[in-house]
């Protein structure tokens, strides 16, 4: 089963590569995934590419049932991460042994291959997290 169409991948590269979010000019709230309107009611949201690339693990799981594009990477470690400053993101955790992970583990953003598209032969990339060696 195909993973992505080319335009779908291409247009989200700023988010996939650099975690580009949106920030409300009125109240400062940050939206990742990017939103068009803030919950404060304002529609003045600007690109915000200064989300910290370090944070701490809130919780994680090891996922064994994966879709066809992820069979070779199985199992996936999937983590909820709180970036420094408080914005959260979900990402794969890589270069890690699950039994050494715990809520509070320090992680940093890395740039990795996500999947290979079977039809187009397109290699798709995106952010993941890895534990920071203390």
């Amino acid at each position: 089963m195909r993973h992505e169409s080319v335009p779908m991948y291409w247009r989200n590269i700023p988010q996939y590569y650099r975690l580009v979010a949106k920030r409300c000019r009125q109240c400062g709230a940050v939206y990742f995934p990017p939103a068009l309107r803030c919950r404060c009611g304002s529609a003045e949201l600007e690109d915000y590419d200064e989300l910290p690339h370090e944070g701490r693990l809130v919780e994680y799981t090891v996922l064994y049932q994966v879709g066809t594009d992820f069979l070779k990477q199985k199992p996936l470690i999937v983590g909820l991460v709180e970036l420094n400053g408080g914005v959260r993101a979900v990402g794969q955790i890589v270069d890690a042994q699950p039994d050494r992970l715990a809520p509070g583990t320090r992680v940093e953003l890395v740039f990795r291959r996500v999947a290979v598209d079977g039809r187009h032969g397109l290699i798709m990339y995106g952010y993941k997290f890895r534990p920071v060696q203390p």
Partner: protein, 368 residues
């Protein structure tokens, strides 16, 4: 508000129905429901999640009606992922309440077993945010696992407490002639089953089944259980921005509205079917419906006080995706009158149908 009544229904045993096309499978159960009701319908509402991604069939209602030789009446497909069933019942309810129709039918159908199991993961992942969740390989299971871990920790439970959900559901499923799993399991079976997304194991994941269910709904007829109220709510907050991970926001909102409109409270509920596609969702749904206090569902389960999912839930009856909500409506209606199921000890029942990881919930209150 005029009354809407369930005047006829039919269920297909959940399973692997390799031999049938999706339109015919829906037509078969719809034909039975029409015969059960003994009325003609003026419109059809179709609940299906996989018709496009598995069977590549749009406008499914037209092909179902073709199979039954019913011409001219309108057919609508309503899709809210695995919550399509509750959403379609709600849309049908509005159509009746508008005064436009006297009788309509809702048919739910899905055939996830037309593809292989890894492809089923791809299909089911379409309920996730396609760009920011599915893209990275996340599935309903991975996010349910994160919620399960946080729920168990916060409320002081061990995994064994959660494992009791699957045991209870299999116990119930054993009594349901339409269930996919009709055998009891032991706690050890659950505890020794493989991890699917830790802490969740194989028994925490409802099997995707081929299934079809139909209900005929009429306005102002009193020969069947009454739909007292319907309510749908969306949770528009992405997973990573949730305030809490141990509650279902979409359900909380829908339940409050549905109870209020029906004029009942959780105390009045004698029959409930909740969306336990993953065991943790079932637990959270029990709390979201107010059938246990927050954090108290597993304690109530342990005490033996949980009167939910007498069908065996998605866990044992099977998760027929878009058809599930229609199964649930029929199950609750039948439990209230003691048809096919043991009669519920009260006059009110409630259905919880959910799409995605707490993205949308429908709550339907049924009464005698």
């Amino acid at each position: 508000m005029t009354g809407v009544y369930v005047v006829g229904a039919a269920l297909r045993p959940a399973g692997r129905h390799y031999g049938e096309n999706i339109d015919d499978m829906a037509a078969e159960v719809l034909g039975k429901a029409l015969a059960d009701a003994g009325v003609d319908i003026e419109a059809l509402f179709v609940a299906s999640s996989t018709t496009e991604l598995v069977n590549r069939q749009q406008i499914l209602g037209a092909y179902i009606l073709e199979s039954l030789g019913i011409d001219k009446i309108p057919a609508f497909r309503v899709e809210c992922g695995d919550g399509s069933g509750g959403a379609a019942v709600t849309a049908a309810y509005y159509a009746l309440a508008s005064g436009e129709y006297g009788c309509v039918a809702v048919v739910g159908v899905d055939k996830p077993n037309d593809v292989l199991s890894n492809q089923q993961v791809d299909v089911y992942a379409a309920v996730m945010d396609t760009y920011f969740e599915r893209y990275f390989g996340f599935t309903p299971l991975s996010h349910a696992a994160l919620m399960a871990k946080m729920y168990l920790k916060r409320h002081g439970y061990k995994y064994e407490d959660l494992a009791a959900w699957a045991v209870l559901m299999h116990e119930r499923g054993a009594e349901n002639p339409y269930a996919y799993f009709r055998r009891r399991v032991k706690l050890e079976d659950v505890l020794s089953s493989e991890y699917t997304s830790e802490p969740l194991r194989l028994y925490d994941v409802a099997p995707l089944v081929d299934g079809a269910a139909a209900a005929v709904l009429c306005r102002d007829r009193r020969d069947g259980p009454r739909i007292m109220s319907v309510a749908v709510a969306t949770n528009a907050v992405p997973f990573n921005m949730r305030s809490e991970y141990d509650t279902l926001y979409s359900l909380r909102e829908a339940a409050a509205r549905a109870y209020k409109a029906a004029g009942i409270s959780p105390r009045d509920v004698a029959a409930a079917e909740v969306h336990d596609s993953l065991s943790i969702f079932g637990v959270l749904a029990v709390e979201g419906l107010g059938l246990a206090e927050r954090g108290g569902a597993l304690a109530a389960l342990k005490r033996g006080g949980l009167r939910v999912n007498m069908s065996g839930g998605l866990k044992a009856r099977g998760n027929a995706l878009g058809a599930t909500g229609v199964y649930q409506l029929v199950e609750v209606a039948w439990q209230l009158v003691g048809r096919e199921f043991k009669r519920a000890d009260g006059r009110y029942g409630v259905v919880h149908s959910m799409g995605g990881v707490d993205r949308t919930s429908a709550v339907i209150v049924v009464g005698l």
